[in-house]
């Protein structure tokens, strides 16, 4: 279980509070107006941003002071998820060993996850030779290989067209179902949330609200969500 215990971030005029828990295996969408703090929330959980108050717990472990790479977390950013000077196989291999000294067995593992995301044989290419959808798949392959129990997606598919984005979301849903991982996914599109999320965290007015079941939320949206949806 991911527990945010009185989590707070304040800087100047901006502030964000979160105080809720997400059960293991849940698929949660984080939605809300831009600038509201959706990315801030994810960055605090990932350890990229230090909270000004409160704690992040995974199961019963306090993650405070744990560097991002050591947390039980994989995160995909909006962009720059791959190193452009490394090949696809190297980018994925980083998920196994940050120094890339891979054994033969580990190289086979890389091939296997690439095949799982339909990129068999693409290992030798550089990201510049891939399409936007393929780049997302490489990042997802690395996530699979890292096998962390908590996945954070900070709108990594925002730049893709609608059809491709749906395809990626479906792939994410499949991978999460296979691995039993917990998913927190930022989106500004309610359709994305409806597509794969069981519950939704609404971030607005400086508060990340506790997750509410997706169908119930959109059936009877609170005022803040109505304003956002327009």
């Amino acid at each position: 279980m991911l527990t945010l215990e009185g989590l707070e971030y304040t800087q100047g005029d901006f502030s964000l509070r979160a105080d809720f828990a997400v059960p293991v295996g849940a698929r949660v969408a984080v939605i809300g107006p831009s600038g509201g703090g959706k990315s801030t929330l994810l960055n605090m959980i990932a350890g990229i941003l230090a909270p000004t108050g409160g704690r992040v717990l995974w199961e019963s472990d306090d993650l405070a002071g744990m560097p991002p790479g050591m947390r039980p977390i994989s995160i995909l950013f909006q962009d720059n998820n791959l190193f452009p000077h490394l090949t696809v196989a190297q980018n994925v291999g980083l998920g196994l060993r940050p120094d890339l000294r891979l054994t033969v067995a580990q190289k086979d593992q890389v091939e296997t996850v690439l095949a799982r995301v339909d990129l068999a044989g693409y290992g030798g290419r550089k990201p510049a030779a891939l399409s936007g959808g393929q780049i997302s798949r490489v990042a997802l392959a690395r996530m699979l290989l890292r096998a962390k129990p908590l996945l954070l997606l900070d709108e990594p598919f925002a730049a893709l067209g609608p059809a491709l984005r749906d395809e990626m979301l479906d792939l994410v849903a499949e991978l999460v179902a296979e691995t039993g991982a917990t998913l927190l996914m930022v989106s500004h599109n309610p359709e994305d949330a409806k597509r794969i999320a069981q519950s939704v965290v609404l971030v607005s007015d400086g508060v990340a609200n506790a997750p509410v079941e997706t169908g119930a939320l959109f059936a009877d949206p609170p005022a803040a969500l109505r304003d956002y949806l327009g």
């Binding site: 990932a46 002071g65 950013f77 190193f83 452009p84 490394l86 940050p98 550089k126 510049a128």
Partner: protein, 519 residues
Amino acid sequence: MANRAFKITPVIGAGAGAILLLLALILGPLWALLWRAEGPATLGVADWAAVRFTVLQATLSAGLSVGLAVPVARALARRQFIGRGVLITLLGAPFILPVIVAVMGLLAVFGRGGIISAMLGWIGLPPIHIYGLHGVVLAHVFFNLPLATRLILQGWLMIPSERFRLAASLGIAGRDVGRILERPMLRDVLPGAVMVVFLICLTSFAVALALGGGPKATTVELAIYQAFRFDFDLGRAALLAMVQFGMGAVAAMVMLWVAVPPTMGSGLDRTVERLDAPVAWWDGILLAVISLFLVTPLLMILFDGVPNLFSLPSSVYLAAGRSLGVALMSTLIAVVLALILALMVVRLRRGAVLVESIGYLVLAASPLVIGAGLFIALFPILDPVALALPLTALVNALMSLPFALRTLVPAVRDIEASYGQLADSLSLTGWARMRLVSLPRLRRPLGFSAGLAAALSMGDLGVIALFSDPESATLPLQMYRLMSAYRMDQAAGAAVLLLGMSLMLFWIFDRGGRANADA
């Protein structure tokens, strides 16, 4: 990341070590000179004359360079013509041009036997005399007018073209555009440009050695050289060194206070879209004159030197080999130091100020003072002749450090901003991060920095003059000797060799950084 907990990482440790090394190299020599000095020394009349001359020539050089650079930059900013790109590239060239080569070229144009004197002779006028204050200032303007032009052009191109469009739509034209848009920009840019040129001319040695001299035209650097080499008066050398350092420190302090525009920026290929542009016929003439001023001396060198290139005495080729070795060693030291410092500085919160301070401290420090001091400190334990080349390489590396830092720091910062979080999230730390992220992504700026360091060291005529021993002369020194012995044909041949080697070194390193570099 500002929020990351501060830890003493290997990078911070290495960086602190590098800074201590720098401070030791800059301040240690002063102390060594003082320690070795016998009895209290005083500065004579000639020494004070050197101080006055140094400040005078630096002021004149800075004023003339920047004053001329304003109209040149304006012409380049508002005119689009064939060859504009070439001209702007050419303006970057004097930076890696060996000083002694340029001096020789200037002599071929402005010297007693040069083109201009010959033309004056046709109409019965006496030849011009280049040695002395005006020669020194002329050479400094030759080097720094292009630099100042690039700095100011940068300022012009930083005014968004929308502003000019807005001004035109409001019917603001002619002089008023200058008052509203250009003058504020110049107010921001000019003080920095003046100070950069002033500081460069303040520590000028090779130009003063070749074109100055005599009691009337000696810079403090030249006086240090003479006190050390001819009189071996260490006390006076130490005092002069402190005067030099003091002048440099004051100038550097002023520079930290006025903002200096970025030197190595790209994107100068744009023109300012001027809807109000009056047809300024003098722009073309000005640019033509400036191009002639910059190109003719180099053409003269090629003209005189190429025929002699393959009939040079073997001492010249040996010197070229030594110079190459020194340049490569110096490049390695400069790039490693700069990389360590850049990596550290980006991790520190107030790193930017630190970099600027280091840069200006080094610019203000005199290479001759450092060289002489290190020599004094080390010669009881080591053989001075054996020291000459390694010391030259080390001092040359220090001198190119500010430029390497200015290139590397923004690049490292950029990498951290784009890929720092990704690397963090994958536990890419330490050497793996360096090997897999930093170094591959820094190839271009590293190549450029290495090219600059190699070319600057190749062409340097400074510290090595202190130890000028026939067995350890570098190519610039050997060339200077040929000039002093009036073997002008051979000197011109050596000049072409030196010029070619400097440009080749820059090209090879810069090219190496670009080849196969992924965006």
